[in-house]
Amino acid sequence: MNIICCVKPIPDSKHWYKLSLDPETKVLNRKGIPMVINALDKNALELGVQLRDKFGGRLIAISMAPAEAKPVLTETLAFGADEAYLLTDRKFAGSDTWGTSYILSAGIMKISNFDVILTGEYSLDGSTAQVGPQIAEFLDIPFLSKVCNFTFNSDTFIVDVKSEQGTYKYKVKPPFLLTVTKDVNTPHNITLMGIIKARGKQIVEWSFNDLDIEDRMIGLQGSPTQMADIIVPDIKRKGERIEGNKKEIAQKIVNIFKQKGVL
């Protein structure tokens, strides 16, 4: 079984407070913020490792990212992927989810041999949850999103989807794409052995010219959505301190309730 795992390198959330917005260009400055694997993609990789170990075959990680994200691909190899592909080109910059899904799909089609595609439900930075379903659409394969449980034996795959209303259980057959939630498994910790093995594995880099894609469909100009503005929300309020011992504080709180007509 050949499994392809779409992985997004994102700025490390521990450093998000360093993000700054250029008020003129509205471009987010990410300098100095290290990149890490999007957490939910680790859950996807873990599932990929389980499937590969059970059925044999190859687990392939693929990302569309700037060149400096290469260490993240190395991490996927240490995690257990057999190969990694980095789709990288200045021309890709500024792509919205449509452009990103289009590019990743072209990469997947070039790899061509796949039974299952896995990815995290959403990335922590953009949080749109669009790319997984959009890749499935480009590749014309069925998909399920918000997968919280996955069980399989030699010929049946049972997938649980967590919707706001409850859990839907499906039977699926390859080829299919799944987007997974954090409930689907607990990713293992990368071991020293994994890191050593990674050194013998390949990261293939593909640029615009390596893929069967059109210029006008990618990048900032190719994206159907545009940013009209980016705002850092001004939500600060000047809070009044309430002090005293616990009885006094409680009384003051109750007074506020009365004032506001809550009590």
Binding site: Y17, Y168, V254, I256, F257
Partner: protein, 339 residues
């Protein structure tokens, strides 16, 4: 001459389409909210349509008319009885190609997210996700307000050059949505396109409904929210006690839900509920942006936390730097005493 002018007028109408999602024989409130939103735009020359598909949808026409639809596109088909992504997307795709709506909105549910994303690819158009605000600009383009980086930024996204402009919207964006009385001239159109059965689609084996918890907190006037700082399930129960005394809704943060103290349904934040109560009292909540995004528009915010650096203190009206585990029972005691 008159006919041509009439046709031009029809072409100039801004066509806003709302996907009316059905669950358990009812249209979900997130969809109804969006019909109210379209009506609230209060603009001339807007045509508001609902799209409703399934196997027995006629019974919903009255509700859709009541909420203010000018038009209803519907389809009944056995293949549509349960949601199957490829069938629903295919039908919507053909309907959009034929009728060219300007705007197509979904509630940000599992179905709304899947359909919006895939339609974006099929129709080569832009899609935004989990909008917390929607506006029309002077050119009648939809400005879609979307949080990013855990809510640390709000992006205003537009789809300037293609139609439909597609968006999914967080439930709770419109606080009060209501029936406006039947629009007398609502046009009901049966969708002609026939879907063909496909092979190798995911096969639905079963559905297990979530245990229904308390009433939806989006409507609550007062919300008592608890976070990790409560420390234990016993303390969590005091949150429920306090809420009971005030007839208030109960909310939580992700860490509290992860601890198993309460249902994830009560989670307030970017991946949970967006609330705008008259009063929000946060107890033992540090206030990461992810949560703040869900409650920042509350009228009055009171926060209790023993960490002087808790980010929630930057966004609240009343700062109480104290031990939540002590203050909570004290407040309950005071309320009981004053009754």
């Amino acid at each position: 001459m008159v006919k041509i002018l009439d046709e031009i007028k029809i072409m100039e109408k801004l066509k806003i389409w709302i996907f009316a999602e059905i669950f358990k024989h009812e249209i979900i409130s997130g969809s109804l909210e969006l019909i109210t939103f379209a009506n609230n735009l209060n603009k001339e020359n807007i045509e508001i349509s609902a799209i409703i598909i399934g196997s027995n949808v006629d019974k919903h026409f009255t509700t859709l008319k009541d909420y203010g639809c000018d038009k209803i596109y519907f389809k009944n088909d056995n293949l549509l009885k349960e949601y199957q992504q490829k069938y629903y997307a295919s039908l919507l795709e053909h309907l959009c190609l034929e009728n060219k709506p300007d705007i197509l909105v979904f509630s940000a549910t599992r179905i709304g997210s899947e359909l919006s994303s895939t339609l974006g690819v099929r129709l080569k158009t832009g899609v935004s996700a989990h909008c917390i605000g929607l506006k029309l600009n002077p050119e009648n383009k939809l400005i879609q307000e979307v949080p990013g980086f855990g809510g640390n930024i709000i992006a205003q996204v537009i789809t300037p050059n293609t139609v439909p402009q597609i968006a999914t919207v967080m439930p709770g964006m419109i606080k009060k949505f209501q029936s406006i009385g039947t629009k007398t001239d609502c046009e009901i159109v049966e969708i002609a396109y026939q879907i063909d059965a496909l092979e190798n689609l995911p096969e639905l084996v079963s559905f297990t409904e979530k245990e229904t918890t308390v009433q939806s907190i989006e409507d609550a006037e007062v919300i008592i929210a608890g976070g990790y700082g409560l420390g234990s399930k016993e303390n969590w129960e005091k949150i429920e006690e306090l809420a009971g005394l005030l007839n208030a809704g109960v909310g939580c943060t992700r860490p509290a839900a992860d601890e198993g103290w309460c249902s994830e349904d009560l989670m307030i934040g970017q991946s949970g509920k967006v609330v705008r109560p008259k009063l929000y009292l946060g107890i033992g909540i540090s206030g990461v942006m992810h949560h703040i995004v869900g409650m920042k528009d509350s009228e009055t915010i009171i926060a209790i936390n023993n960490d002087p650096k808790a980010p929630i203190f930057e966004v609240c009206d009343y700062i109480i730097e104290a031990d939540a585990q002590e203050i909570l029972p004290a407040v309950i005691k005071e309320i009981r005493a004053s009754n």
